[in-house]
């Protein structure tokens, strides 16, 4: 699955240091292999956001302040957000394992301090993933996002680590003459 070129959706706004236990409380880790079920409980641990996932329309965009996804290494954090129907995450910054997991899954995330600051909940956004430009139709603004290193960008655009590993395993098989 490769990345879409343009994503449109409504913004949901979250604060700083939202950790993985808030993104998907550990008790739901029993659904580790069920993205839909995880999606129903996404962001449930954020105080005041109980029942949030049911309000998300497919394609909506999650916007957060700094250090989004800190805490545990659970990959079910970005999986749950994707499962809830969120098409893209924009944050001021990410905790490293959440960041890695999203890139490895080929799940689009953008780092945009400017966007994270300016966007309000409910704003209508259009994001050009190739250019990394965020357009805010509600406010008539436009924000840049920070470019990722080349290798990470390649991984993201080829659909994540799975196709990359498949290719590498194939190269090894060929080299081994099988």
């Amino acid at each position: 699955m490769t990345l879409p070129k343009v994503v449109r959706g409504r913004a949901w706004k979250f604060g700083a240091n939202i950790d993985t236990d808030q993104i998907i409380p550990a008790k739901y880790a029993i659904y580790s292999l069920d993205e839909k079920e995880l999606g129903k409980h996404a962001m449930e641990g954020v105080p005041g956001r109980e029942g949030w996932a049911a309000q998300v329309s497919p394609g909506d965009i999650l916007v957060a302040a700094s250090n989004f996804g800190c805490g545990s290494s659970r990959e079910i954090a970005p999986v749950a957000i994707r499962g809830a129907g969120i098409s893209l995450v924009i944050a001021d910054s990410y905790a490293r394992i959440f960041f890695r997991n999203a890139i490895n899954m080929g799940y689009p995330i953008l780092q945009s301090p400017q966007g994270a600051e300016a966007i309000d909940e409910g704003d209508e956004l259009e994001v050009d993933l190739e250019q990394g430009v965020i357009r805010n139709f509600t406010k008539g603004d436009e924000y840049r996002s920070e470019a990722f290193p080349k290798f990470m960008n390649e991984l993201l655009h080829m659909g994540g680590l799975v196709p990359w590993v498949r290719k590498r395993l194939e190269e090894r098989r060929v080299a081994a003459g099988r």
Partner: protein
């Protein structure tokens, strides 16, 4: 230009003469770990999506049944079964069954599986713990682990290194846990985001390996990629009867470059706790003394090794848990439990009225055996107190060292251990 310990390990593992912060590298992994929550998705991704039939080196993989095991419900039993089946089918050499292993971050060091100079990854954020043994160790996700198991290699961004120098010695009652909570309190939960934390200095020379593991364990609570310590006699002695492979220690070059150097006076670190709802909310004990508690939990990969239990037992001996409070003690490994039994610690805990459990992550992540309800207050020797970590989002968790936890269980309110025990016996402190 010289390199830090972290840079040297990453350079060696990626087959380069040198690396610089910001470099993206493909590196060979020396050891990998997964557990009952991360092996099922990693195994599925590896076999069904990546198309790998076997793991690259079954001798270099460990799997523990620790997070929701012994199974807390039918769904966790399924995760346990998938973990067990995968490990068996792949011939994982270091598979630890329920009742024979315990929490991954205690089990791997005590079995000599993570060694100086190595590049270690674990599908659990607290995998940074192993860095106390002079290696590069970091937490990864399930797709990452699938990649490592399929290929034996993984991509990394070489981190900038932050150096933390600790002068003097910790004061009486002040433990490694307090030192690292103090540091996180100063730099914040994103103060070392994606960076390496190199810990050095006189204060570390005088503490044992278990205390050092507590320090590196919490690197992730400052957002760090890894935490790493220098190799010394304490490291050598700890590994003497344990190391399963030959190893080569690393040291930072005198002209290595650091993004920033932080100096701390260990003697000035106060005894305290991290208040709700963040590990960087460190406060001196005097600020919270008397806070009423519903539960005290001594457990986790942070503070439930044998030395932690000895300190808790020294405080609890001859005392009872206060009415209205429950004390739950969860050893971090089966070996720790065996040792606690030999030393008579379990008898002290049971006589005090504590609930003694099998080795598991348990209550730390709100899994089972001590999940908190709405509005409950808990003092815990664990590593995280973000909202909902140990159960209900409105439960309040204070992070402390084991002696403070034990003393507070006796009185039912947050208490200085000196109120219950005059002095920590020599050899335990």
């Amino acid at each position: 230009m010289g390199m830090t310990m972290t840079e040297k390990i990453l350079a060696r593992a990626s087959g380069r003469d040198s690396v610089r912060p910001g470099d993206l590298i493909l590196a060979k992994v020396d050891f990998a770990m997964g557990h009952d929550l991360t092996i099922p998705p990693a195994g599925k991704i590896m076999r069904e999506q990546m198309g790998a039939e076997k793991i690259w080196d079954p001798d270099r993989v460990a799997v523990t049944q620790d997070h929701f095991q012994p199974a807390k419900d039918a769904a966790s039993a399924t995760l346990g079964r998938l973990t067990r089946e995968f490990s068996h089918q792949m011939g994982v050499k270091w598979y630890f069954e329920v009742g024979q292993g315990g929490i991954c971050h205690t089990v791997l060091p005590e079995n000599g599986l993570v060694l100086p100079g190595e590049l270690v990854v674990g599908a659990d954020s607290h995998s940074c713990t192993y860095g106390a043994l002079n290696n590069f160790a970091t937490g990864i996700g399930s797709t990452d682990l699938a990649c490592v198991m399929a290929l034996g290699e993984l991509w990394f961004r070489v981190p900038e290194t932050l150096k933390f120098v600790y002068h003097n010695r910790l004061q009486e009652w002040v433990e490694a846990k307090n030192l690292i909570l103090h540091v996180i309190g100063k730099i914040g939960v994103d103060g070392a985001r994606s960076k390496a934390m190199e810990h050095v200095g006189e204060a570390l020379k005088t503490i044992d390996m278990e205390a050092r593991l507590t320090i590196t364990n919490m690197a992730i609570e400052a957002g760090a990629k890894n935490g790493i310590l220098e190799f010394d006699d304490v490291t050598r002695e700890y590994l003497e009867a344990r190391a399963k492979r030959p190893y080569t220690p690393v040291s930072s070059d005198p002209d290595a470059e650091y993004e920033k150097v932080f100096e701390f006076d260990a003697a000035a670190v106060e005894l305290g706790v991290a208040k709700p709802m963040s590990p960087d909310n460190y406060a001196p004990l005097s600020e919270v003394v008397g806070t009423r508690l519903d539960q005290v939990f001594i457990g986790s990969c942070t503070n439930s090794r044998i030395t932690d239990l000895r300190r808790a037992a020294a405080v609890l001996e001859g005392h009872k848990v206060a009415p209205g409070v429950r004390l739950i003690i969860t050893p971090s490994s089966h070996q720790v439990a065996i040792q606690a039994e030999k030393e008579g610690l379990i008898g002290i805990f049971l006589a005090a009225g504590a609930a003694w459990t099998t080795a598991t992550c348990g209550a730390c992540l709100g899994g089972h055996m001590g999940v908190l309800g709405e509005g409950e207050v808990c003092l815990s020797t664990t590593n995280r107190n973000f909202p909902g970590r140990m159960g209900h989002p409105k439960a309040m968790v204070y992070l402390s060292n084991p002696a403070v936890a034990a003393a507070s269980a006796v009185t039912g309110v947050i208490t200085h251990p000196g109120e219950v025990l005059k002095k920590m016996p020599a050899g335990i402190a």
